[in-house]
Symmetry: C2
Subunit: 192 residues, 2 copies
DNA sequence: TTGATTGTCTAGCGGTGCTAGGATTCGAGT
DNA sequence: ACTCGAATCCTAGCACCGCTAGACAATCAA
C-alpha cells in the first residue's frame, strides 16, 4: 500500500500548493487576477487538475478562507493573552483584528466578502470558523455586561470591527483616525 | 434648437431607463446577472448603446449607487424626524438603515460592496454620498458625547451598522436577534 | 437633392469558469 | 518480463463575459 500512500501524500502536497498559490496571487494582484488559467500556470499543471481537487473556484476561495480563519484565531488569542487588564485585552483584540484585515486583505475578503461556499453560524459550520468566533468570544464575553448574552455581545462587537475594516479598506473611511475609532468603540461597547 | 432639446430629453429618458433596469435586474437576480448583454436586451437596444451613456459596467453600478444614496438619506431623515427623544431618534435611524439594506440589497451592494468607481470621503465625492453621510450625522452628532468629534462618532456608528447589515445578509449572523443587537448598539454607543 | 453628421447595429476580440474525451503513464497480475 | 487496465493528465472547446471597430441607416443643413 506504500505506493498509494505516496500518491495520496503527493496529492495533498499539490492541494496545499494550489491553496497557497491562490492566496499569494490574490494578495499580490487581487482576487480578480486569480483565474483558473493563471492559477494552473503558476502551479505548472493544466486547468482541469484544479477541478480534481476542488469543485470550482468558489471552493478554492473557501479553502483560503479556512486557512485564514485559523491564522486569525491565533493572532487574536496571542494579542489577547499578552494584555493584562480586560480593557487592554479588548483593545488589543480589536487592533489585532483590524491589523489582520489590513495585512491580509485577500484572505479577509475570502473570509467575509466573497462567496467561498461556506456555512456560517450553523450546525455544519467548519471548525476553523467556529474557533475564530470562539477566540473573539473568549475575550469579549467577559466585558459583555450584566444581562447581556456574551454571544450577542461578541456578534455586535465583531460586526463593528468588520464594518471598520471593510469601510476603511474600501476607501469609505479616511484611515488616519483608525486608532481613535478603536478607542471609542472599546470604551463605549465594553463594560469594565 | 427644439430638435436638439427633444433628442437630449430622449437620451436622458433612456439613461434613466438603463439605470432603473440595471437596478431592477440586480434586485431580482443579483448583480452577477446584470450583464451588458442582458441589460441591453431588456432595454431593447444593442450593447454598444450602453457605452454611449456610461464608460462601462462600473459606471452603471455607480449610477445605481448614487440613486440609492439619495433614497437612503430620505429614509434615514424620515425615520429620525418621526422620533421624539434622542434615544428613539438614534434607534429609529439604526432600524431605518438596516431596513433599507435588507429591502434593497442590490442597491446597498452597489453603494458599499461593489466598485462603482465613486470617490468617498474626499473633495470630489458626489453630492448624494456626502448628503447620506450628513443625514446620519444630523441625528448621531447630538449623541456623540463630550469631547468626541461628531464626525468620528458618526463614522464608528455607521461602521457598526454596516457590519451588522453585511454580516447578517451574508449569513454570517443569525437574523433572529437583529433587534437586540440594535438595542445593544444604541444603548452602548450613544451618550444620552 | 446632396453631403455630412449622428445614431445604431452586427460582428468580433480576448478573456472567463468549466468540462468532454483522447492520450499517456504506471502499477498489478500472470 | 510483459501485457492489460486503471488512474492521471492535457488538449481542445463550450457558452458566456466586458468591451469595441467598422459597416450601415437615419437625419439634418445647405
Amino acid at each position: 500500500m506504500s505506493v498509494q500512500e505516496r500518491k495520496a501524500r503527493e496529492r495533498a502536497v499539490r492541494e496545499r500548493l494550489i491553496v497557497a498559490t491562490a492566496r499569494e496571487l490574490a494578495e499580490q494582484q487581487g482576487w480578480d487576477a486569480v483565474t483558473t488559467r493563471r492559477l494552473a500556470e503558476r502551479i505548472e499543471y493544466s486547468q482541469p487538475v484544479l477541478y480534481s481537487h476542488f469543485r470550482g473556484k468558489r471552493e478554492i476561495i473557501g479553502a483560503v478562507a479556512l486557512e485564514g480563519a485559523a491564522e486569525m484565531a491565533v493572532a487574536v488569542r496571542a494579542a489577547a493573552s499578552a494584555a493584562n487588564s480586560p480593557r487592554e485585552r479588548v483593545a488589543a483584540l480589536a487592533r489585532a483584528y483590524l491589523d489582520f484585515a489590513e495585512r491580509n486583505p485577500a484572505v479577509y475578503d475570502a473570509l467575509f466578502q466573497l462567496d467561498g461556499g461556506l456555512a456560517y453560524a450553523q450546525e455544519d459550520t467548519p471548525e476553523p470558523l467556529k474557533d475564530a468566533f470562539a477566540a473573539l468570544l473568549e475575550s469579549l464575553g467577559e466585558v459583555a455586561g450584566d444581562g447581556v448574552d456574551p454571544g450577542l455581545f461578541t456578534e455586535v462587537f465583531w460586526a463593528s470591527l468588520h464594518g471598520l475594516a471593510t469601510l476603511t479598506r474600501a476607501g469609505r473611511l479616511p484611515p488616519e483616525y483608525t486608532e481613535q475609532r478603536v478607542e471609542l468603540l472599546v470604551d463605549r461597547l465594553a463594560v469594565l
